[in-house]
């Protein structure tokens, strides 16, 4: 009698699960093809065992060994963390929540409202500052965002704070003028203090466009970490697997809601298990 084999239906289930999680058709096909070869060579025939192997392959892809710490320790000058991304992903909210985390670590934190464009963006940031008990430096509506960022860092240096968090306006990576502006914000900050961390905020509901966003933001401001927001929804955020793999930029934090405490360190195992969980 021939031994049991993993049937086509099981393979299709694997594939469907991964594609539905926004992993992407290319990476999914590659992963599943590799597994097919591996199973044939190793004689894996039990679907449960196959699933376990799939999980471990995915985990290896997500790479639990990457450095995911937030670099927010002051040196001669305050640590400066910039938060960037396309429109509406959760940047301002993340700044608020991250400030809360840093305050809990006994750090003195200052916010810089370098979104001078969107209606009430600075008010929104200031409200977050109030919630978590940290001050906000803001400029006039329509002011040059680089000069507001410069001012915030200057105030932070003078006040000897530990961390300055700079919120920036949402911008699509396709808008070269706005991307140039972002590059300038960073360069102007660096005249006074090195930027310790540039966090790109990606919305977990984003599909394949997330990779393009990450590529271009990295080119312009050298992204050092990803924040994956809105993971409390039904989306899985699978696009970050490609982002990490192609760009080598780790996901550092995840957003799990709209409340002050809804920010958590990225956990590769939790992420992979959620990815494989069929809705």
């Amino acid at each position: 009698l021939s031994r049991d084999r993993i049937d086509e239906e099981t393979w299709e289930d694997f594939e469907d699960t991964l594609i539905t999680a926004d992993l992407g058709v290319g990476p999914t096909t590659e992963l599943v093809d590799n597994l097919r070869t591996r199973f044939r060579v190793e004689g894996v025939a039990d679907p449960a065992q196959a699933r376990e192997i799939l999980r471990s392959e995915l985990l290896a892809l997500v790479d639990p060994t990457m450095d995911r710490t937030i670099h927010a320790d002051r040196g001669d000058t305050p640590a400066v963390v910039m938060v960037v991304g396309v429109n509406g992903t959760g940047k301002t909210t993340t700044v608020g929540k991250l400030a809360r985390v840093l305050v809990a670590e006994d750090k003195e934190v200052l916010l810089g409202a370098a979104d001078t464009f969107r209606a009430a963006a600075a008010d929104q940031l200031e409200t977050w500052g109030g919630r978590v008990g940290v001050p906000t430096v803001r400029g006039a509506e329509g002011a040059d965002p680089a000069s507001v960022a410069f001012e915030a860092v200057k105030v932070g240096i003078e006040g000897e704070v530990d961390v300055v968090l700079i919120d920036t306006a949402g911008r699509l990576h396709t808008k070269t003028g706005l991307m140039d502006e972002l590059g300038k914000v960073k360069r102007v900050i660096e005249r006074q203090a090195p930027v310790s961390e540039v966090l790109l905020v990606l919305d977990a509901t984003t599909g394949q466009n997330g990779l393009t966003q990450a590529r271009i933001f990295r080119e312009v401001v050298d992204v050092t970490g990803i924040v994956l927001t809105k993971l409390d929804g039904s989306a899985k955020g699978g696009i970050v697997v490609q982002v990490q793999r192609e760009l080598g930029v780790p996901v550092k934090l995840v957003g799990l809601g709209e409340g002050v405490d809804d920010l958590a360190p990225f956990d590769a195992e939790v992420f992979v298990d959620a990815l494989l969980e069929v809705a």
């Binding site: 469907d16 594609i19 539905t20 999680a21 926004d22 992407g24 058709v25 290319g26 396309v86 429109n87 509406g88 992903t89 959760g90 301002t92 608020g96 464009f117 969107r118 209606a119 009430a120 008010d123 929104q124 409200t127 977050w128 919630r131 699509l172 990576h173 396709t174 808008k175 919305d203 509901t205 984003t206 599909g207 394949q208 466009n209 997330g210 393009t212 809105k230 409390d232 929804g233 039904s234 989306a235 899985k236 699978g238 696009i239 709209e258 809705a279």
Partner: protein, 299 residues
Amino acid sequence: MFDTLQDRLAATFKNLRGKGRITEADIDETAREIRRALLEADVNLAVVKEFVAAVKERARSTELHAALNPAQQIVKIVNDELVSILGGETRTVRFAKRPPTVIMLAGLQGAGKTTLAGKLALWLKGQGHSPLLVAADLQRPNAVNQLQIVGQRAGVHVFAPEPGNGVGNPIEVAKNSIAEAERRLYDVVIVDTAGRLGIDAELMQQAADIRDAVRPDEVLFVVDAMIGQDAVNTANAFAEGVGFDGVVLTKLDGDARGGAALSIARVTGKPIMFASSGEGQKDFDVFHPDRMASRILGM
């Protein structure tokens, strides 16, 4: 970044020039390419499967000739199918027989609802209407101020009796806005609501309560064109939780292929009414199914 479907199909058919007839294997190969192209455009997998099966059926029943550029023939079939799903029933706002016409906006966090409120107001004003914006997002920090600024820019009045940031009842605000509109003769009321997740039962109930309080002529589901596979779950959740009459796609000024448009149109059967393509108040247009089809196919 990706080759166009046209190019890929051309490559698929390169070897059969002169053979005269397209075989079943050619059609299978073609179907795989179409599947891949649609998935790369973020069309939902279940919708892709159904769509590809339908195209395959049509390709079989159509006389495809190798000599007559089969790639082009198949792209045309695909394109026609896309347009027919995307444009089944295009329309814009249905105005109430007795004003005010009430439009309620609903969607995920950050989709572009508040911005859209301003765009709609300006657009309606341009057509001689006098719209009233209603600040019924009392949750997101400074959503009320944001709408006030948006209203100011559009030159329309904003009904904002509550400060928001957790203070005030959005259902009351929504209800009172209708009386305000009747009293002051605004003929269109646009209700901005807080962003909410499809799986948040409590907030979905709140949306349904706001709906019941204003009895909207149009509930518009506002969705970001960058959304991936989850578009279908979310659209279904809003369809069930609050119900909607039309869809607005936002952030089309980016380079996302926007496959969600196809998924949502197919799964909910609701028309996509408007396209938002920028942060300015004039970056707004009625939806064009043919343009969207080309965009999804990367053409």
